[in-house]
Subunit: 625 residues, 2 copies
């Protein structure tokens, strides 16, 4: 197997227009990318599978909400205050760095120097010596990744200048809504808030049944200080988010049994605390039982995320679920597991699965006074005793007159313990005491003003704010990681790169090529194109004058899994060949048979191996060039 | 038929959560809407059909580009200067109006008064009298639409105050990219610019073949001064745009013959100039032949747009294509036809089909110096004579020395006529004259410095900037218009509204209802749900305790075309009933048969009428409640 080379992959991505920097003829803008026909179709297929796997499979309530969001909403959610990164400015030339990147880089640099020092010691030399003598001693410098090297050099170039103290920079793009400029807005940093604000409508749409989930696919924005790593850290990205609303007293999941035997690679907090990074492999059933994963609903989604990613073509051995350490959690989260996918950039968070508890619904409800709760009819009423206060209106109002409201408001805010204390105070004071009004003044009150008593309360309805489990997918990160996982180069020819997408995911399903641009083939090409389209099979016709081998390899780079070739025999006997991308093997059958086989292959109802057992391999030297 | 009532429709839209104002619990923001599960699925189905009808059918190159756009791009495209509306401010209270809305309103008010006056005249009374006596005379005031009435009242309330002079307000949302605040950006007002900037990549992806189209589906933004009319004028919207690149010398379309007999309702400029609004019905073939529509490509797209809208469920008699008058064209367009759909808001532009000529590619190319052209190998080389200048390097450089560059640069900018004039000047000056250098100084030049001669030029390649035909779809406007077109109310019961979406378009395809919430049904519900999902049929299960009639009518309001009902007989003999929404008729067959019929119905391979001829109608009194 040819070793992975990111430069080769990046050339394929560019040449086949999976994606490219936006506005490039204007010099481009860091962190903004355009998806070309191949990337756009790949993304659409990933989203289509996502919708089937999550939304349709579980009757989730999908919505499509506004990107432009008034500032008050994001103030309440905590994003205005907490959705920030620290940045530092070079005080001489004004260049801006993300502080944690800088620290990371410096630490890495020191670690690297340390490594060199240790190596030097082992070999009986020392670092100072190595610096002085340069290449004369035997120290092999650790080879750095090219990007990192460039960044090191960049940072090192700055070391002569002073840096400002770090300041917080809010990562939301700001704008103004309407012509007055008075309504400040932000581009949403996540789709989640739009979902929370519609909670009441969703619950009603779901006939008040719990648990349930809402979902949304859409563009979100983060004004990154220094975008890098291609699609992995960008300023504009497509997310797919699920908000699953669940009873905080019962986080079991009705379909947990369906997934309990699925094995995941887990990296819980306790392993990380020990400084280790090797995940354990464990069934999700066992993980929940052992409380490694807190509850069934969280566990259910981890398993479903795993199934989804594997189905896309992500390699299991390069996928792990890492639990957030308490100090890295977002401001709204009380537990979080990231699905991390390994690529040449390291292990990258591609899906976050957070328990946001009742945080968001509570803060929005408090701010707007709109109840965002579930009311549940109790099968057996809840009966309990409680100390309550009842105003004696005949005395209270006439005695306190214009001050009655201020005192009443104060009294109704008292909790049980405070009521008991008030009762005690009245007893001690022989039926008289003073209380503060909500106006800040003190008032005398008498025991005949109100009754404070134990009462039996019977509740028929339970009211609660649901907790939210949120699987949140970064589609661009998944898409890029997937491309790396399915990328390889043919051993016999390093110029021939292949992207082995599963058929359901690949941008195009079938290449249609006439052997040459002889006009004898054009009717058959047109007829077959129409039939393939009718079967909803996305095709790419290549009737250019390039050699057939060249055209095959171009489509190998696009990840097109199958190719139908029309040759002179086709015109005579209505047979065509069907080629498979990874094996480059072909069969030759009547058009009707090929179309049926192809349909089954693209819908992943049969595999190519199965096709190979059913139909003879077709060999024709000239097509294998 | 029950008369259309927008209030009833709006209640259904709200109750069934097709869409609703965004951020409503915070008071909402004008012109921003969230699509709920029904609206979101409806939109997804419209976009899916759009992609099949346009992108897949014609191998268009779809892309997904950035929303955040650097200011320079939109400065070049003309949007910074020309994408504006006029606004006026109430000088007393600061309220802001869109000037044309205000003018429109005032004119409408006057027209209305005029109408009353005419009526009054006819009836032998007069307006003043009618105002005085109110309902005592026979004048019936023209009943105004409720929204318009509210707006009139709003405007009329202002008439006491002075208005500012109209000023231009740019409709793009502005923001800053990156932490320095120095890179100004706008949220794109259309997806088109992102497509134009990728022209070179598209052309390469298409193996340099012309004509071809790029396409994009995505969110765009317009910071409307005063959003109104629900989804018809909003600040954030989903567009689907096609940019079809065509040789300006040949705007024929290879597939025009497929559509030439399709009849459209056209409202060309000349009819509008006469003050008429009745369209002509004419085949697109005839319209192009008679030059009513300029060329085949424009005609082809008008016909394809027509087919797409009709397939969605838009009524032909409420669809027309209106040609823009010269004074209403966007700054980039040289011809434009709008597909206008009639709703209770009047005739609304839902699809624009503009000929943007070479405008955009030219301005971006000029600004960036990047060639955005097609190079076409000529089958016969182009041979012509041309006056050209050739430097005599042996003399030119040594004589002019450090000034040679400035003079050379000047000389190479001269066109043919200027070269001829220079040659003449040398002759007149006996082999000597002066020319300006690009440094602004004057230089003496001599005839031995260069030769100016007629030469025969042979070109093997033709280079041209393609013209762009742009069909641009406002998805929200189409979605709302469609809802109005398929909305009706059952005659027998005004509480029972129905949305008769075609099966391919409807948000959910099938309702699954057990007769009651008897546990005997739950296995069958679960089993059928799973089988329907496997068939990719979007279902909605309603096992609530509401009556079966109530559950049917709830799904009639969602536009769900079919319902499977599970009753006690189902448990015994594995038969279920299948109900059709519009007729409320049912059949009863084995589950396998019903699933097959349903699959064919949802894919629009058979119609309900055909089903009715094949299977007996099932009548069961209790289900018809």
């Amino acid at each position: 197997m040819v070793a992975f080379n990111r430069t080769t992959l990046e050339e394929v991505i560019k040449k086949r227009f999976f994606f490219a920097p936006s506005f490039q003829i204007y010099g481009g803008v860091a962190g903004l990318y355009d998806y070309g026909p191949a990337g756009c179709a790949l993304q659409a297929n990933i989203l289509d599978l996502w919708r089937r796997h999550f939304v349709l499979e579980e009757d989730m309530l999908e919505m499509d909400g506004s990107i432009m969001t008034p500032a008050t909403v994001l103030k309440t959610s905590g994003h205005v205050d907490k959705f920030t990164d620290w940045m530092v400015t070079d005080t001489i030339n004004g260049e801006i760095f993300r502080a944690d990147h800088l620290v990371e880089t410096v630490l890495e640099k020191r670690l690297n120097e340390d490594k060199q020092a240790r190596l030097a010691e082992l070999e009986g030399t020392n670092v100072v010596a190595s610096k002085d003598k340069k290449k004369k001693n035997k120290i092999k410098p650790v080879k750095l990744d090219e990007n990192m090297k460039a960044e090191y050099e960049n940072i090192l170039a700055k070391t002569g200048n002073d840096l400002s103290k770090p300041v917080e920079f809010n990562l939301m793009f700001e704008s103004n809504i309407g012509p007055t400029g008075q309504l400040k807005g932000y581009l949403r940093p996540e789709t989640a808030q739009g979902q929370f604000l519609n909670f009441k409508r969703f619950l009603e749409f779901n006939n008040d049944k719990m648990p349930f989930a809402s979902a949304s696919i859409g563009r979100s924005f983060r004004n990154e200080i220094s975008p890098r790593s291609g699609l992995l850290r960008v300023r504009e990205f497509t997310m797919a988010e699920i908000e699953h609303y669940v009873d905080p007293n019962n986080k079991d999941h009705p379909r947990f049994d369906e997934v309990k035997d699925i094995k995941l690679h887990l990296l819980p907090q306790n392993i990380q605390v020990e400084g280790k990074t090797n995940p354990i492999e464990i069934s999700i059933g066992e993980a929940v039982e052992k409380k490694i994963v807190d509850n069934q609903t969280l566990g259910y989604f981890l398993a479903r995320i795993h199934l989804f990613l594997i189905r896309l073509g992500i390699k299991n051995e390069r996928l792990r679920f890492r639990q957030h350490m308490p100090n890295e959690m977002a401001h709204y989260a009380c537990d979080c597991w990231d699905a991390e996918i390994q690529s040449s950039y390291g292990w990258i968070e591609c899906v976050g699965c957070a328990d946001r508890s009742a945080y968001d619904l509570t803060v929005h409800s408090n701010r707007t006074k709109e109840k965002l709760v579930v009311r549940e009819n109790l099968s057996e009423p809840l009966v309990y005793e409680k100390t309550v206060l009842e105003i004696n209106k005949k005395v209270f109002g006439p005695k306190l007159r214009q001050n009655a409201k201020a005192v009443e408001d104060y009294l109704f805010r008292l909790d049980e313990e405070q009521l008991k204390a008030l009762k005690k105070a009245l007893e001690v004071g022989n039926g008289k005491t003073t209380v503060p009004g909500t106006d800040g003044k003190e008032y005398e009150v008498f025991s005949e003003f109100f009754n404070i008593e134990r009462q039996t309360i019977t509740e028929y309805v339970r009211e609660y704010t649901p907790n939210v489990i949120e699987p949140s997918f970064g589609i661009g990160r998944i898409l890029y990681s997937l491309i790396e996982h399915v990328f390889w180069v043919r051993e016999d020819d390093e110029q021939r790169a292949v992207l082995s997408f599963p058929p359901r995911v690949s941008p195009f399903k079938c290449l249609l090529v006439p052997l040459s641009n002889n006009p004898a083939f054009s009717d058959l090409v047109r007829d077959l194109s129409a039939r393939l389209r009718k079967l909803s099979i996305a095709i790419k016709v290549d009737d250019s004058s390039n050699s057939i081998g060249r055209r095959y390899s171009r489509n190998d780079e696009l990840g097109t899994p199958f190719a139908i070739t029309i040759d002179f025999q086709s015109v005579n006997d209505n047979t065509v060949t069907l080629r498979e991308r990874d094996t480059t093997k072909q069969i030759r059958e009547k058009v009707d048979t090929i179309l049926q086989v192809l349909k089954n292959l693209t819908e992943e109802e049969i595999t190519w191996d199965e096709v190979m057992t059913k139909y003879p391999v077709f060999v024709q030297q000239e097509l294998d060039s």
